[in-house]
Amino acid sequence: MSFLPVMLWTDALVFLLIATAIASAWWVRRQPHLLLPWRRVAQSRVGMVSLLVLSLFVLVGVLDSLHYRVALPEKSNGQTVYAPEVLSAFDYLADGLRTHTEKTYSAPLAVYLYAKESMEMADGKVVRDYPRLKYGGAQLADPQRDWLGDVTGRALTGAAAGLLAVLLLAGAVVKVVPAAKKSKPMFAVLVTALLIAAVLGAVADLATAYHVLGTDKVGQDVLYLSLKSIRTGLVIGTVTTLVMLPFALLLGVAAGYFRGWVDDVIQYVYTVLSSIPSVLLIAAAVLMVQVVIGMHADWFDTAAKRADVRLLALCLILGVTSWTGLCRLLRGETLKLREMEYIQAAQAFGVSSFRILMRHIVPNVMHIVLISVVMDFSALVLAEAVLSYVGVGVDPTTNSFGNMINSARLEMAREPMVWWSLASAFGFMLLLVLAANLFADVLRDAFDSRLNRTENS
C-alpha cells in the first residue's frame, strides 16, 4: 500500500518543538549546574510519576502527528490518486477503533444499540427492540450468558499481559542501568507503570471486541475520539507557548534592561493587549480567521488542512493574548538583575548591551520561562474546551475535548442519559491537566522554590 506523507503546519511545529527539546536536553546534559534542578525533579516521586503519565499522552500525540494519505487503487491517467482523507500513524495502529462505527449511541462495553429499532426477524415478523451492535460484542453467541465472562476474561488477560510487559521492561532497564534500582522514585514509578499497564492492557484487549467507552451519536468509538483529542490539547498547550515565547522573552528582557522609551513602548503594547478581555480578543480574531478561510477555500486541498490552519491560528491568537503575563514577569526580574554586580562588572568591561542580555540576563531568567511554560500548558488545555464551547475554538471537524463536550452536553437531557462521551472527555482532560499541574509544581520547586508569582509591574 503506497501512501503520501502529509506534513501539516502544526505537525511541523510539533516536530520543531521536539527537536528543540531534544537539543536543549543534550545541551543541558553537559552543564552540571543546569542539570542540578533536573536531578531534583528526577528525585521526586510525584514528578516522575506525572512525567510518566505525560509521556504516554505525548506518545499518542506524536503518533497522531505523523500524517499521510493512502493511495487509491484506481489511477487517473497513470497518476496515483490519493484519498482525500488524511490519516495518521495513530489511526493506522488504532484502525479497528476508527473503522468499527455503529449506527448511533451505545453504552460502554454494550452489545446492544442505545435506541430501539424495527427489525425483521428470521420468521419475517417485525419486532421493535434494541438491535445487536455491528462490532461491539459481535463474537458472542448469547450475550446474556457470555457477556460477563468474556469481558472479565479479556480484561484479566489484557491486564496480565500489560503487567508482564512492564515487569520485563523494568528488568531490562535495571540490567542496563543498575543505578536505576537505587533511584528514590523508582518504586513509585514502577507501581504506577504497573497500574497503567494493567489498565491499558485490559482496555486494549477489550477494545478489539467492544467499544470500551461506548459510541457517540454517529456511532464513532468514544475511546478513539478521546485519544484523537489528545493531540489537539497538546498542540494548543505547547505550540501556543512556542509562538509567544520569543516575544515575551525578547520584549520583557529588553524593557527591563534598557528602560526609558523602550520600556514605555513595550509597556504600552502589553497594557493595550492585556486590557482587552482575552475571550473577546480571541473571538474577534477567530471570527476574522474564519472569514479568511471561508473566502479562500481554494487554498486547502483537504479538509484536514483547513482544520489544521484554524488550529494553528487559534494557537497564534492564544499566543498573542497570553504573552503579556510572562513579559511583565520577565521585565520585573530583569529590572532586578540589571542592578546585580556581575552586570555592572560586564558594563565596566564595555561589554555590549546585546551580549549582556544574551550571556547574563537571558540565562538567569530561563527558569522563570520554563516554569511559566509548564504552568501555562494546563491553563491552555482547559481554555480550549471553553473556547470551543463559546464557538471560537478549533474547527468543528477537529477532534478535541472541547468539541466532544460541546456535542455531548445536550445529550445529558436524554432518557436514559448518554453520559459516557462527556465523562470520557472530562476524564481524559483531568488526567492530562492533573499530570501537567503536578509536574509543573515539582518543576517550580526544583528550579525556584521562592519564585515570586505575585510580581507586579
Binding site: P32, H33, L34, M340, E341, Y342, Q344, A345, A346, Q347, A348, F349, G350, V351, S352, R355, R359, H360, P363, N364
Partner: protein
C-alpha cells in the same frame, strides 16, 4: 549574683542529623553581659533561637537543658513558653529594617507586647509606650508612636526593637548582632543604649556578635563559638589578655589595624566547615597550624585553666604531648615586609575634579524633574600609581556612587575624570572601551558579583573578549591559569561554577576577573565587608601583595577604619556627597581635624579589652535629597557655630597634604559657599 539563665548540654540538629549546636553549656548572671562570639555559620543565632524555642522547621533541639530562673524552658508547654517570650526573655535581631512589621505603626507593635505581658491597654498602654520610646532615646516620642517603621532610620528602628523588647521587662535580653547592619556612629549609640538600659534595670544580656570590637566594648563574659561548639570561654579581661584557643588567637591576629601596617595579616586558611559535614575530630583542626594527629581523630574535651578560663583544645588537656608551637613568622604569608615607598613625585594616575552625580526627583502629572538628589556633589581626588586611596564614609554618603561614576557606569552631571591623562567623561561607548582596561572594579557582594550561570573561565575571559585582547586559545588558557595562581586559586577551578566556591574564594575570582585585563587602578567597593574576619585577612593580604607585585593603584571604598589604617596611603572622608577631610593616613586617622572624622574614629570600638567609651556623635545622617543648609554636618556637630548654618566651609590646609572643610580651622571662615 544568681544565674538568670543556665544552659547545659544544649544540642540542636538539622533533620539530616548534623549537630549545628553541639553540647553548649553556659550561665548568665543578673546584670551581666555574656557575649557569644563567632563567625558566620558557627551556630550562634541557632543557639539564641533554640533558647526561645523559635527554631526554623528544619532544625530541632535534641537534648540539653535550658533553665531560666526556675523554669525549665525546654519542657514548658507552648502556652507557657509564649509568656516567657517577650516577657522574661526578649530578643532583638540583626536587621531592624526587616524585623519590624512594615504595615503596623511602631506604637501598635510595642503596645502588642505591653498587652501580652503587662496587661496594659488603651491610654495606659500608650503612656507606657511613650515612656519606653523616650527611654530608648527616640525624640518626639508621642508623634513617633504613630509612625510606620519605613519612616524611621535604621538606628531608630533598632531603638524601637529595643523598646519593644523592654516592654515585657525581661530579665534576659538576647541581642543577635544588634549593630551589624548599622553604621559605626549609630552602632556606638545603640551599644551605649544597651549598656545604659542594663545598668538601669539590671537585666542580663546575651550578646551575639562576630565583632571583637563590640565584645571588647560590651562583654563581661565571652564564649567563642566555632562550628557549633564553644571552643573557649573566659572573662573579657582574660580573653583579651591571653586568648587560649588557637582559633581565638588567630581571630585576634587576623584583625587589621595600624599596628599591623606593613606586615601581612595572619589569615586563617580555608573557611568554616559547612554544617552538613562537620569533621570527626576537633572542628578547627583542618585550619589550625598547631594541630597534630590527635586533633583530627578525637574531639577535644572541655578543659578549665587557671582563673576559670575554659577551652576546648588538646593543647591544654595534654600539654606535654603537643608539638612545639610554630612561630607566627613561619605561618604568616610570605611577602615583602615594607610598603613600597611613596612616589610623591609621580604624576597622578587618576585625577578627579569636582565630580557631581545627581539623581532627578520627578513629581507631578507630567513627571517633571522637581529636584535633584545630589548623591555626589563636587568630589575631587587624585591617586598616584602604586598608591591606595581610601574613600571612607557611612552608608548613603555617596562613596559607591562615586566609584561607579569614575568607571562611567553612571553618567556624571559635571566634573572631570582624567585617567592616565585622558578625559573619560563625555566619551562615546567606542572611545570609552579603549580606556576601560585601565580601571576595573571589585564589588562588595561576592555572591552577586559572579554570574551563577557561567564557568570561572568564561567569567575571566569576558573582559578580555570585550576589550579585544585576542590571542590563541592555548595562550589564553595559560594566561587564565597564571591569573588564578596569582589570586591563590588552583588552575582547575576555571572549569567550575561560582556556587562551588566560598565567599572568600569568590572574591578572589572577582579580583582575578578585574586583573585579567591588566588594569592599573582597581576600585574596590567594600570588598571585605561581606566576609568573615579570618577571610577578610586573606583578601587584604592578597590585595596588598598584588599591589607590590603589579604596582596597582587602589581606590578603596570602605566604612571600616581599621582596614583603612592597615591598607591605605591616603584617605578621603566623605559625608553627604562631599569630601570633608583628606590627607595621608597618618594625618587623618591620627590627627583628625574635622569633627566628623573625629566622631567616626571615636565610634570605632577599641580592641584593648578596657571596656566601653562614650558616644561621640548623636543623631542620624540626613537624607541626601535634603542636605542641611551650610555645613552638612552642623546638626550633629558638637562645635557648630552660627556660620556653619549658613555657608559650606571652604577647604583649609593644615599641612602639605592635609585638607579639611571646617570653620574651626584657619582661613575657611572667610570662604564662600563653594561649589554648590
Amino acid at each position: 549574683m544568681s544565674a538568670v539563665l543556665k544552659v547545659s548540654g544544649l544540642v540542636a540538629r538539622l533533620h539530616n542529623g548534623a549537630r549545628i549546636v553541639d553540647d553548649l553549656s553556659f550561665e548568665i548572671r543578673q546584670g551581666e553581659t555574656f557575649a557569644l562570639l563567632g563567625e558566620s555559620g558557627c551556630g550562634k543565632s541557632m543557639t539564641a533561637l533554640s533558647l526561645l524555642r523559635l527554631l526554623p522547621d528544619s532544625v530541632q533541639v535534641d537534648g540539653g537543658k535550658v533553665q531560666l530562673a526556675d523554669a525549665d524552658l525546654l519542657s514548658l508547654p507552648e502556652r507557657d513558653m509564649r509568656k516567657v517570650r517577650g516577657g522574661r526573655m526578649a530578643m532583638i535581631f540583626q536587621e531592624p529594617g526587616l524585623s519590624l512589621n512594615p504595615v503596623m505603626t511602631v506604637g501598635a507593635q510595642i503596645t502588642e507586647a505591653l498587652a501580652l505581658h503587662r496587661g496594659l491597654r488603651g491610654a495606659a498602654a500608650e503612656a507606657r509606650c511613650i515612656e519606653l520610646l523616650q527611654q530608648v532615646g527616640i525624640p518626639d516620642a508621642p508623634r513617633r508612636l504613630h509612625e510606620y517603621p519605613f519612616q524611621m532610620s535604621g538606628g531608630m528602628k533598632q531603638r524601637v526593637m529595643i523598646a519593644m523588647a523592654l516592654a515585657g521587662q525581661p530579665r534576659l535580653l538576647i541581642a543577635d548582632e544588634p549593630t551589624t547592619a548599622l553604621d559605626v556612629t549609630i552602632q556606638a549609640q545603640v551599644l551605649q543604649l544597651l549598656r545604659d538600659t542594663q545598668q538601669q534595670n539590671g537585666m542580663a544580656l546575651l550578646l551575639i556578635t562576630h565583632d571583637l570590637g563590640v565584645v571588647a566594648e560590651m562583654a563581661h563574659q565571652v564564649a567563642v563559638m566555632y562550628a557549633g561548639h564553644i571552643v573557649e570561654q573566659a572573662t573579657r579581661e582574660q580573653l583579651f589578655a591571653a586568648p587560649a584557643h588557637p582559633y581565638t588567637q588567630k581571630l585576634f591576629a587576623a584583625l587589621p589595624g595600624a599596628q599591623r601596617r606593613g606586615q601581612p595579616l595572619a589569615a586563617i586558611p580555608g573557611s568554616v566547615p559547612p554544617l552538613q559535614d562537620i569533621p570527626r575530630g576537633c572542628r578547627f583542626a583542618s585550619r589550625c597550624d598547631r594541630a597534630w594527629a590527635l586533633c583530627h581523630e578525637q574531639a577535644p574535651a572541655w578543659t578549665t585553666l587557671d582563673g576559670g578560663q575554659g577551652v576546648r583544645c588538646h593543647l591544654y588537656a595534654t600539654a606535654d604531648a603537643a608539638p612545639a608551637r610554630t612561630s607566627d613568622a613561619e605561618v604568616a604569608v610570605q611577602g615583602p615586609q615594607a610598603v613600597a615607598p611613596a612616589q610623591a613625585a609621580a604624576e597622578a594616575l587618576l585625577q578627579v575634579d569636582n565630580l557631581q552625580v545627581y539623581f532627578p526627583i520627578r513629581k507631578g502629572i507630567l513627571q517633571r524633574v522637581a529636584g535633584q538628589v545630589k548623591a555626589v556633589d563636587g568630589v575631587s581626588l587624585s591617586i598616584k600609581p602604586g598608591r591606595t586611596l581610601a574613600l571612607v564614609g557611612e552608608s548613603g554618603c555617596g562613596k559607591t556612587t562615586t566609584g561607579k561614576a569614575l568607571l562611567q557606569l553612571l553618567q556624571p552631571a559635571a566634573g572631570s575624570v582624567r585617567f592616565a591623562g585622558n578625559e573619560l567623561t563625555g566619551l562615546d561607548a567606542q572611545a570609552l572601551r579603549k580606556q576601560r582596561a585601565g580601571m576595573q572594579m571589585v564589588f562588595q557582594d561576592p555572591y552577586a558579583s559572579l554570574n551563577p550561570k557561567m564557568r570561572v573561565a568564561e567569567i575571566l575571559q569576558e573582559g578580555m573578549a570585550a576589550l579585544g585582547a585576542a590571542s590563541s586559545n592555548n595562550d589564553r588558557q595559560q594566561y587564565l591559569d597564571a591569573l588564578l595562581g596569582q589570586v591563590g586559586l588552583a588552575a582547575e577551578s576555571k572549569w567550575r561554577y561560582p556556587h562551588e566556591f566560598s565567599g572568600g574564594q569568590r572574591q578572589r575570582i572577582a579580583i582575578a576577573r578585574a586583573l585579567a585585563v591588566n588594569p592599573r587602578l582597581l576600585i574596590c567597593d567594600e570588598p571585605t565587608s561581606a566576609l568573615d574576619v579570618s577571610v577578610q585577612a586573606q583578601i587584604l593580604n592578597l590585595l596588598k601583595s598584588l599591589q607590590q607585585e603589579l604596582g596597582l593603584s587602589y581606590l578603596f571604598i570602605t566604612h571600616n577604619l581599621t582596614v583603612v589604617e592597615y591598607l591605605a596611603h591616603d584617605v578621603c572622608v566623605m559625608y553627604l556627597g562631599r569630601i570633608v577631610e583628606r590627607g595621608a593616613v597618618a594625618e587623618v586617622l591620627h590627627a583628625p581635624r574635622h569633627p566628623y572624622t573625629q566622631a567616626l574614629l571615636a565610634a570605632v570600638p577599641q580592641i584593648d579589652g578596657r571596656g566601653a567609651q562614650m558616644v561621640s556623635v548623636g543623631g542620624d545622617m540626613p537624607s541626601p535629597a535634603r542636605p542641611p543648609q551650610g555645613c552638612h554636618f552642623h546638626p550633629r556637630c558638637p562645635h557648630a557655630m552660627p556660620v556653619c548654618r549658613e555657608r559650606y566651609p571652604q577647604a583649609s590646609a593644615s599641612g602639605a597634604t592635609h585638607i579639611v572643610h571646617c570653620y574651626l580651622y584657619g582661613n575657611a571662615a572667610e570662604g564662600t559657599a563653594g561649589e554648590s
